[in-house]
Each structure stands twice: as C-alpha cells, then as structure tokens.
C-alpha cells in the first residue's frame, strides 16, 4: 500500500514506487518462459507456472490424484494454451483412464480427434497376448525414447506425461540405468522445449518422497500429492517439495477434485 506523501516522504514514496515497479518487472520476467499449468490455484504455488522444457515429478500414494493432475495439465494445455500434449500410459490401460476422465467436464475425445491430445498405451496389457521373458539387466530405454521423439516431432507436442515411471524401475530392476535413461529422455524433451510430468509412486505410511529414492534427482521440480484422514473423511493435499530456479509456496495446501478438475484451496 502506498503511504501518503509528504515533503519529507517524497523520496520514501519514490523509493517504494521504484521497489514496486522492480517487483512487478521481476514477476513479468519470472513468468516469461513459464508454462501455465491451467490447474486452478497451482500456478500461484509455483509463482507463475512451470519452466518450459522442464521435467517435473508428480509423486504420491495410490489414489492421491496424480493421474488426474497430469491429465488436466495436458487438457488445459491443449484446450486453453494451444499446446498439444502426449500422455503415455506405462501401466494403466487407457480405457480405464478415459473412463475416469468422463467424470470431468473435459472434452478429451474432441481434443484427441483434433490431434491436440495424443494418448499412447504402452502398458503391459497393450503388448497383447505375448509371453514375456525378462532379463532386464542389460538394456537401454531407446524404444521409449524413439517413440516419444517421433510423436513430439510429428505432432508438435509441447507437453508430455509419462505415467508412471515407477513401473520402469520395477520392470528393469537397475535403478541407476533407469535413471540415466530417463535423464536422456528428459534432455531430449528439453531440446524440443516440451514440459513434462513424470509420475511416480510412494507407498502409504513409508518415508521418502519417491518409492525408489532416485526419481527426484532427475526432476526440476517435485510435487507431492497425498491424502490424510480427517475424522471419517479424507482430505487431499499437495506440496511443492522442490522447484529448481524459482521460489515456491512452502508447505502443504488442500485441494479438491470436482467435475471441473483440481482446485487448490486457499
């Protein structure tokens, strides 16, 4: 609030005005190169949005709302910010995801028809009836890399979701190699200026922000979703645990899920 001016306060007034202008300019600069998520209230928590080309981890227990958060990130990007998105399901069959999406006022089918949203099912179910032998000690995730790169290039994709990456750690058994390979994919996405969300899981009641303890090191930011019992109900919370290069709200915030999507409650 600007204080009243007086002859002695003129310099004080001007100083305060300059400070306010500086803060505004810093905010404008900060928002440049930022990608608004479009998720109600979330961009305020991260002071304007995500950094373009960044990779962010969305972590949480089962049922916390991670997939909905990510799907809304893509939905808002495609419908409000003209940023086509790619959702890659590594575990849940897409039919199940789309069934959940029908609970919202989101025109997912329309965006898919317009090629603004690409849904790719790489879950085990999608592999079909093949019998599998796994010897995953020696491998490269270059099939995933090639798939993502091809779709990003052809579709002009600007937002990508990998859901969940934890299944890669479980299937391939060598967390160091998985982390290296995901870093390679992340670098490729940065080159294409794609902003990405990688989903990972935690186990309820167990310490640690990620299940395997390495996922957070490959991300520019970490958002944790969880729920806490409150009496006979459960309340959902979100926390910006890490946000490289930007101040952010520290602490947990309640959020709700309605037919319009996620809303952070202030």
């Amino acid at each position: 609030m600007v204080r009243g001016r007086s002859k002695e306060g003129d310099s004080g007034f001007l100083t305060e005005l300059k400070q306010r202008i500086k803060i505004e300019e810093e905010l404008v600069e900060a928002v440049k190169g930022r990608v608004p998520t479009g998720i109600k209230g979330f961009d305020e928590l991260v002071r304007g949005g995500l950094f373009r080309g960044g990779t962010y981890l969305v972590s949480g227990v089962s049922g916390a709302g991670k997939s909905i958060f990510c799907l809304e990130f893509l939905y808002r990007g495609a419908s409000e910010f003209d940023e086509p998105g790619l959702y890659i399901s590594l575990e849940e069959h897409l039919d199940s995801l789309l069934r959940n999406a029908k609970n919202f006022n989101w025109s997912i089918d329309e965006l898919v028809d317009q090629h603004k949203l690409i849904l790719l099912d790489l879950s085990v179910v999608a592999v079909g009836e093949k019998s599998l032998s796994l010897n995953p000690d020696v491998f490269a995730l270059d099939g995933l890399y090639a798939t993502i790169e091809a779709i990003v290039k052809e579709g002009g994709v600007k937002r990508v979701v990998l859901d969940p990456i934890s299944v890669l750690f479980l299937q391939y058994g060598n967390p160091g190699v998985v982390r290296r390979e995901l870093n390679i994919i992340s670098s490729m996405l940065k080159r294409y200026r794609c902003t990405s969300l990688f989903v990972t899981e935690t186990e309820y009641g167990k310490p640690g922000i990620t299940r395997f303890g390495v996922e957070e090191f490959l991300a520019d930011g970490v958002f944790i979703l969880y729920w806490e019992p409150e009496g006979d109900k459960r309340s959902r919370y979100i926390e910006v645990y890490k946000m490289r290069g930007s101040p952010h709200y520290e602490g947990k915030k309640r959020f709700s899920i309605s037919e319009d999507g996620i809303s952070i409650l202030f």
Binding site: K130, N135, V138, F139, L141, G143, A146
Partner: protein, 98 residues
C-alpha cells in the same frame, strides 16, 4: 528351407548394450536346433512407428513371431533354445500334416 510362418525380429538401436552378443546368441541357438529362420533387425530409432506399433520400450527386445514370445533384455542361449524348441515342435507337426 526357411519357415515362412516363423521368424525372429530383433529390435535395437546403435545404443543397444550388448547387441553383438544378442545376434551371436540368436544365431548359435538356431544353429544348435538346426532351425532356418529369418532374422529381421529393426532399428527403432529409424523406424519409431514400429516401436509404437509393437510396444517396444527398451532394447534389445526379441520377438519370436509365430509363437507370440517376447524376450526383453539379453537372453541366454539356454533360454532361447527352450523357447525355440517349442517352435521346432510346431514346425515338425506342420510338416507331418502336409
């Protein structure tokens, strides 16, 4: 005579670790079983549409076409032989039925 019903498809890139060994293992397994199968090598970085279509996330991935078997990673010769023997059974049955 080469089987037309069965073949081996190996998905790889130039980053695939242990690739020369994969090829050697497949060839020696086929030789031990006296199986004459086509080996098709698919570089997924040059053919990403095949990676998408076949759901190939990692390499090496080896598909035994005709018996719907997939190896993810580096199989041992013993593991390959066990699976290929089933294929050989199928070939023998096919021949007897002709």
């Amino acid at each position: 005579m080469k089987s037309e019903k069965y073949k081996i498809v190996i998905f790889k890139t130039n980053r695939t670790p242990g690739y020369p060994q994969v090829l050697r293992t497949v060839r020696s397994s086929l030789k031990k079983l006296n199986l004459n199968l086509e080996i098709e090598e698919v570089d997924v970085s040059e053919n990403p549409e095949m990676a998408v279509r076949e759901g190939v996330i990692s390499t090496p991935t080896i598909d035994i076409v005709g018996i719907n078997w997939r190896f993810i990673g580096l199989p041992t010769e013993e593991e390959l032989i066990v699976v290929l023997e089933a294929l050989k059974e199928g070939e023998s049955l096919g021949e007897r039925e002709k």
